[in-house]
């Protein structure tokens, strides 16, 4: 503290007296912030009028309701700064960006692919479309195995992956996901292994196994399909259950996007692998999945105000635009090329690529939002200011997303 304080007190008293003489009434602020009092107003005025130094607007939180995210810089005449200006600590990010690397984005894809494939396989199993069943089961096993590799590889301590099985916590989407995968993985595996029944010899021990496998595989296939929707959508909660601004605020849409993306990728497998006569359901799945995916992606790109920005810029923006093109192309091909195996196959590839691009786009969009302090400060500052000014949010500012 400075030894010259009495001098300041003098200035301070002078302005309090002057204000009293002016008879200006101090508007009382309804918030319970400790900083809001008459002193702050008096001092801010003192600075504006008695000195030529830039006024420390930032220190006065009383009357300067308009200050918004950006009034702290410079003098009083600079209050009308561009709206989205924000204050930061040397421009450094506030949040720690996710330490997850590309393999988690890849897992989002393979997990969804596994889920979509299992649903396709179960449908094929129940409606007598063996090509869909076989392709779906085999893809599901491959995709869920890749998922496990990606997930374990991304751990800081891969050898401790089994510590995930110590607890089951509904507050931890990752814990729930672990248990969903634990239920789904073995079922998908058994269903896929049962497809080997066709190549086993007819006699002997292997023959007996060959006769026992199909019914076991059918039960396992249905179990896998039963848990598949949870596997495809929990990842939306996984990303939204973080402080990453563009992920968290997108929580209503992320499960929708991922459900759609999973359906579309499962349909892609069906279109690739099944003859056109059996691929009808895959085509309809592609339409439904694409609709969900396009709707959800459009919502996150437009609904979140400032927090939509990371999904429209840079690599994430590019990926999501590519995904949209590929999805539209894939659906169009699936519907128009229903007689051509080649066109159907290409549509399937297009849908798979679209799903992959969606996952990477959403993943890296969120990472970008955590790396820039603007996406942390601006929405939160708006919330605080809105509370202070009695929920009177200026309309030209990005409103906090509706819940």
């Amino acid at each position: 503290m400075s030894p010259h304080r009495p001098e300041v007190g003098e200035i301070f008293r002078r302005f309090r007296d002057r204000l009293a003489a002016d008879g200006r009434h101090q508007p009382t602020d309804s918030t319970d912030r400790p900083t809001v009092n008459d002193h702050s107003t008096a001092r801010a005025t003192a600075n504006d009028q008695s000195t030529e130094l830039p006024a420390a607007n930032g220190e006065s939180t009383g009357r300067r309701g308009r200050r918004g995210g950006g009034g702290r810089r410079g003098g009083g005449e600079e209050l009308r700064v561009p709206e989205a200006e924000f204050t930061s600590y040397y421009g450094r990010p506030i949040l720690k960006a996710p330490v997850w690397k590309w393999d988690i984005a890849a897992y989002l894809f393979t997990g969804g692919l596994a889920a979509g494939s299992s649903l396709l396989a179960a449908g094929g199993q129940l409606t007598g479309r063996p090509a869909l069943r076989r392709a779906g089961r085999v893809t599901a096993l491959a995709a869920v195995s890749a998922s496990a590799v990606f997930l374990v590889k991304d751990l800081g301590r891969p050898a401790r992956f089994h510590h995930m099985l110590r607890v089951a916590k509904p507050t931890s989407p990752m814990s729930m996901g672990t248990w969903i995968l634990t239920a789904y993985g073995p079922a998908a595996g058994v269903a896929a292994i049962a497809e080997a029944a066709g190549v086993l010899p007819r006699h002997g021990l292997l023959g007996m196994a060959g006769r026992a496998l199909p019914p076991v595989g059918n039960v396992a296939g249905l179990l896998a399909a039963g848990t598949a929707p949870a596997l495809a959508t929990y990842t939306g909660v996984l990303l939204a259950g973080t402080a990453v601004p563009s992920w968290h605020e997108a929580y209503p849409e992320l499960p929708v996007i991922f459900a759609g993306s999973a359906l579309a990728s499962g349909a892609g497998v069906g279109l690739l692998a099944a003859p056109t006569a059996q691929a009808g359901p895959a085509r309809r799945m592609a339409v439904a999945g694409a609709a969900l995916e396009l709707y959800g992606t459009h919502r996150v790109e437009t609904r979140l105000g400032l927090l939509s920005e990371p999904y429209r810029q840079g690599n994430p923006g590019w990926l999501l635009r590519a995904s949209r093109m590929l999805t539209i192309g894939g659906v169009a091909g699936a519907l128009l090329g229903r007689r051509s195996r080649l066109v159907s196959g290409l549509s399937g590839v297009s849908l798979l690529a679209a799903s992959l691009a969606t996952r990477f786009g959403i993943f890296y969009g969120g990472v970008a939002s955590a790396r820039d302090p603007r996406y942390t400060v601006v929405p939160q500052r708006e919330r605080v200011d809105a509370r202070r000014s009695g929920m009177d949010l200026p309309s030209d500012r990005a409103a906090p997303p509706a819940v």
Partner: protein, 380 residues
């Protein structure tokens, strides 16, 4: 046990909610930044006691803060805010001495690009140059968030008459704060106002700790003192806590892969001792004690400061009704929280968890329904 309705959000006493039957009073930190002198004794004491590895000896070039951020290898972090603006209630500093801006906007923009090898991930990432220039220069900046192509060429503070001359006559950026007294050579007429804020940042030990809630291994747990601690023998480095923390506190060590943060010296607390940082603080800027007592003390301190003509003093993280249910480690600040690199209005991510699961459930049902329709609804 029926969980408290405020288990995910709202005022709560966390230790009994976590299952402690006869918990001692909740302990915490009150960090009064108005008396912080920036000595960094807290950082050193914390490292000494907790055996925290070195976090790099690089100069960040933005201020006297060369720690940069809270990381897995820095559990206390003293922030230094150096700005050419009035120092609040004080008389202009260095009266009679020619002073100048502490750090020019141009060099701050360059310094935003510096990083350091903390041995952690994400550690101390680089910042946004234009935001840094705005922060250090105190003047307007052309485009928000746009990366200044050449901070020395397009001097963002040139438009500000009070800071003019810094860019042209200012020193070359050498990667470190100037060693000379600011303003030497420019004379008294070039004097600007100057303020220097310091704050020792630490894990907030939130009432609703997102890191703890999302931890899938149970490695993070709530102690009987209401603090949040990582069990290093359980953590498998999944990294979920790192992106869940609304304050950007917890971080991962690259060499061992696990997440680390302040334990509020759990080992010392159990023995009735004061945490190392509070013990070492020479000005009692860091105060340790039962949280209720600290909150009362803090309220009284704010009142005193207001009476003495420091209207900008305010508390941060003290309110049990805020987005994280109140912090176990709260602060007295002299400006808005974001100036210190703190989020202005953090909200625990798990507040929305029930709604998230509901959304996921609806999406899952839609997915199942779409599949059924796809197989039942057509002819081919």
């Amino acid at each position: 046990m029926i969980p408290d309705p405020n288990s995910l959000y709202g005022p709560l006493d966390p230790a009994p909610d976590a299952g402690w039957s006869s918990a001692p009073p909740r302990m915490g930190f009150f960090t009064d930044t108005s008396v912080c002198i920036g000595c960094k004794a807290c950082e050193v004491a914390c490292k000494e006691w907790n055996g925290v590895p070195e976090s790099g000896l690089d100069l960040l070039g933005m201020s006297y803060d060369n720690t940069g951020a809270l990381t897995a290898n820095s559990w206390r972090h003293v922030a230094f805010i150096e700005q050419p603006r009035p120092a609040g209630h004080r008389t202009p500093p260095f009266a009679g001495t020619p002073t100048d801006a502490s750090v020019s906007a141009a060099s701050a923009a360059v310094a935003a690009g510096t990083s350091k090898r903390t041995g952690t991930d994400p550690g101390v990432p680089t910042g946004t140059p234009s935001a840094a220039a705005r922060m250090a220069g105190g003047g307007p900046v052309d485009v928000l968030g746009a990366i200044a192509a050449d901070p020395t060429a397009a001097n963002p503070i040139a438009a500000d008459p009070t800071a003019a001359g810094l860019g042209s006559a200012g020193p070359q950026f050498l990667g470190m704060p100037g060693a000379q007294p600011p303003g030497r050579g420019t004379g008294e007429e070039g004097r600007t106002d100057f303020r220097w804020l310091m704050m020792s940042d630490v894990c907030k030990h939130c009432t609703h700790a997102a890191c703890l809630d999302v931890c899938p291994t149970g490695s993070l747990f709530r102690t009987e003192f209401g603090t949040v601690v990582v069990q290093e023998d359980i953590c498998n480095g999944c990294g979920y806590c790192i992106s869940a923390c609304p304050y950007g506190v917890i971080d991962q060590r690259k060499d061992d892969g696990r997440a680390w943060k302040c334990t509020l010296c759990y080992d010392r607390l159990g023995a009735g001792m004061t945490p190392a940082c509070a013990q070492a603080c020479p000005t009692e800027s860091i105060q340790y004690g039962p949280l209720d007592e600290l909150r009362e003390r803090a309220a009284a301190r704010v009142e005193t400061l207001h009476e003495r003509g420091v209207p900008e003093a305010r508390l941060y993280g003290h309110d049990p009704n805020d987005g994280v249910g109140g912090d176990g480690a709260f602060f007295l600040l002299l400006d808005e929280p974001e100036v210190y690199g703190l989020p202005p209005d953090p909200i625990v991510t798990t507040r929305d968890l029930p709604k998230m699961w509901k959304r996921a459930g609806i999406a899952a049902l839609a997915m199942a329904a779409a599949t059924v329709a796809a197989f039942v609804g057509g002819s081919s």
